[in-house]
């Protein structure tokens, strides 16, 4: 078929080359129907976890996806690397050359756009070929490593599965090198241990080493420091930044903490109830937030300065997050929006029309009728 649209041309970061270009992507989960739903023949309902999003992911950069619990961050990450099958939309991804060759051989009619393929359309049985290119690091370092295996075996397994490394010796070298890469030294000593003999921070670095072993282009790091002590978090973050700088690995960093996103990312995307509502550089997002939701997130961040403790903190948002099953009409944020309160002239639009992500200032995008 081929295509005339140049999908490698992103829409958000003109100065970047993108490893991934996501267009109109959705992931809905069916809500379990109760007996009364069936009897009354109520229509099936869906959790709209990811709801028609556009995103570009620049190569060799860290892009943070930020938002409150349940807004769809994990679902986005899992869908982008095809751990979930998308409901609709496209994910154009540029695989490694050898992966592309393999896919060309295996898949009958593979559409290739400038070296990119739409992995959203890749039939499930070929998804395994993407694992050498895309990996995920999970939040919980306690459950993500099999407790009955030694670290060495945990790390060697993916190499065996993907037929990487000619001999046992070669694989051993790769495993030890990966441990050294994330500063788990002496690597031989660490490799011989079981997960319970490591601290949470060390385990999380094992998870990073495991993701690294297949030499992926793209890593989704899903809240990798949420369960790690504050005093040790920076160590993990610095490891991730080193992967970016030394190996040009692209990272989608998922967090609910804007302060951390601000510290490690090149770009930030803010998500609310299945939608991306703002995209920009960390400095822009933090110093000049455009979307009222982003403003609320920033105002709520606790500040390590005791001089304000005798006042209540100003909370720039109303109520609680609605369910992703009954998404409000128009701008889905309007029932909670403070700017809505203060701008009667836009209220009708906010209630009825969904705002699109537009470039409000150079390189800074927001989906809000204020702009």
């Amino acid at each position: 078929m081929g295509s005339v649209v140049d999908v490698t041309e992103g829409m958000f970061f003109p100065d970047e080359k993108n490893v991934m270009v996501v267009r109109d992507l959705s992931k809905y989960f069916p809500v379990r129907r109760g007996l009364s739903d069936v009897i009354l023949r109520r229509p099936a309902r869906f959790v709209r976890a990811v709801d028609h999003i556009d995103l570009d992911i620049p190569e060799g950069k860290i892009l943070s996806l930020v938002g409150e619990s349940g807004c769809g961050k994990t679902t986005t990450g899992m869908t982008l690397i095809r751990l979930y099958d998308p409901t609709s939309g496209s994910i154009f991804f540029e695989p490694k050359e050898e992966t592309l060759d393999k896919l060309k051989r295996e898949v009958g009619n593979l559409d290739i756009y400038n070296g990119y393929i739409d992995i959203a359309k890749l039939p499930a049985k070929y998804v395994k070929f993407l694992r050498t290119d895309m990996q995920i690091i999970f939040q919980d370092p306690y459950s993500s490593l099999n407790p009955t295996y030694r670290i060495y075996d945990i790390l060697e397994e993916p190499l065996k599965v993907h037929g990487i490394g000619e001999s046992e010796d070669e694989r051993r070298d790769m495993v030890l090198k990966a441990l050294e890469e994330v500063k788990l030294v002496p690597a031989e000593d660490i490799a011989a241990r079981f997960p319970h003999m490591l601290s949470g921070g060390q385990r999380q670095r094992v998870a990073i080493a495991r993701a690294l072993l297949l030499n992926p282009k793209f890593i989704v790091a899903d809240e990798p420091i949420a369960m790690i002590d504050v005093s040790l978090r920076a160590e993990i973050l610095l490891s991730l930044m080193e992967l970016r700088d030394k190996h040009k690995i692209t990272i989608l960093f998922i967090t609910h903490d804007l302060t951390i996103a601000n510290n490690i990312s090149d770009y930030i995307a803010v998500m609310y109830l299945g939608k991306i509502v703002e995209i920009g550089t960390p400095d822009e997002i933090v110093n000049n937030p455009l979307h009222p939701y982003t403003k609320a997130l920033i105002k709520a961040i606790p500040i390590p300065d005791p001089s304000m403790r005798n006042k209540l903190k100003d909370i720039w948002i109303k109520g609680e997050v609605p369910s992703a099953v009954n998404i409000p009409s128009g701008c889905r944020f309007h029932p909670r929006c403070m700017d809505y309160e203060f701008h009667p002239e836009i209220q009708e639009r906010c209630r009825n029309e969904e705002p699109k992500l537009i470039e409000v200032e150079k390189g800074h995008y927001a989906a809000c009728w204020l702009y």
Partner: protein
């Protein structure tokens, strides 16, 4: 100033099959009426164990092995179970337990679950507890009818408000909130911290806030205790601890807080010691950038480094 709580030489150990975990190992501090006190430190340093000790409710194999906890002229550390139930728990000292909001069982209504700990540890009937809960719920921003709902119908923030209401039912003097916002989003966290402040101002609650997150402490507490490996390493007014941190551990912790507007990332290399076998001198010595010979030989005593500001570090010798 009126001292409402005085803890001296407190030791609480866990007697496990692999050794004795010295989770709280010789802790001294006082709390004045009207002040909010914070207890901060890394995971496993003994914050929750200290909190449980203040209610004399340490779960087995843990035990208070030494020291005193003086409240209203009584020594809670030495009281028998009956007096604790009748006079202390929930009535004088109540607690919002770490992780409890996620331990609500799905099968019972909120009201029943709210009443249960009070019935067990506090000599009050279920009906009475539920009646009292109805009065308290509006104070934490909830509709009293919530007692007829099930946990899955509530958001995380609402569940935590229920837990706070539970602590308030018997009108206690001291409320301990153990990591009350750790599982919550930043906006809900800000709402809960505002609620705790309001309760303090409006109901005269003496709050003890426990958290590993120093930013949260700064938002709420007047005085701050920094714990490391079962011991207090620094204690002082918030202004002093944040403005002039004395102990190298406190300095390291403050440095590890990621800040908006900077792109600096710092951490404290190394790990805390095993509490079954803590090192003999200063427990922080292995991670301390300023470690000296004496630090490894002798435990640092308490040094007064400012007005009401104390630090356990040999650098002040």
């Amino acid at each position: 100033m009126e001292t409402i709580l005085k803890v001296e030489g407190l030791k609480t150990y866990y007697f496990t099959s692999t050794g004795v975990v010295k989770a709280v190992d010789g802790v001294n501090f006082t709390m004045q009426r009207g002040e909010s006190l914070g207890i901060a430190g890394e995971s496993g340093c003994g914050k929750s164990t200290l909190a449980y000790s203040l209610m004399n409710l340490v779960p087995p194999p843990g035990k208070i092995v030494d020291g005193s906890i003086i409240l209203d002229g009584m020594d809670i550390a030495k009281m028998d179970e009956d007096s604790l139930r009748n006079e202390v728990r929930w009535k004088k000292v109540a607690m919002v337990f770490q992780g409890a909001m996620n331990a609500l069982t799905p099968v019972y209504k909120i009201g029943k679950q709210l009443a249960e700990p009070l019935v067990i540890h506090g000599n009050i009937s279920e009906d009475e507890a539920i009646e009292k809960a109805k009065e308290i719920l509006p104070k934490v921003g909830l509709d009293p009818n919530i007692i007829n709902r099930y946990p899955h119908e509530l958001s995380g923030g609402m569940k935590q408000r229920v837990m706070i209401a539970m602590a308030l039912i018997m009108n206690p003097d001291i409320v301990i909130a153990d990591e009350p916002t750790t599982a919550l989003d930043v906006i809900v966290q800000a709402q809960i911290l505002n609620l705790l402040k309001k309760l303090k101002w409006e109901m005269g609650i003496n709050l003890i806030l426990i958290s590993h997150d120093l930013s949260i402490m700064a938002e709420v507490v007047d005085r701050l205790i920094i714990m490391y490996a079962g011991k207090i390493v620094e204690i002082g007014n918030s202004e002093d601890v944040f403005g002039k941190p004395n102990h190298p551990y406190t300095q390291g912790l403050l440095n590890s807080i990621p800040k908006l507007g900077t792109h600096e990332l710092n951490y404290i290399p190394g790990l805390p010691p095993d509490l079954r076998n803590p090192p003999k001198g200063c427990r922080f010595a292995d991670r301390c950038p300023y470690v000296m010979d004496i630090c490894r030989r002798e435990e640092p005593p308490m040094f007064e480094v400012g007005n009401g500001h104390y630090s356990y570090c040999w650098l002040n010798r």
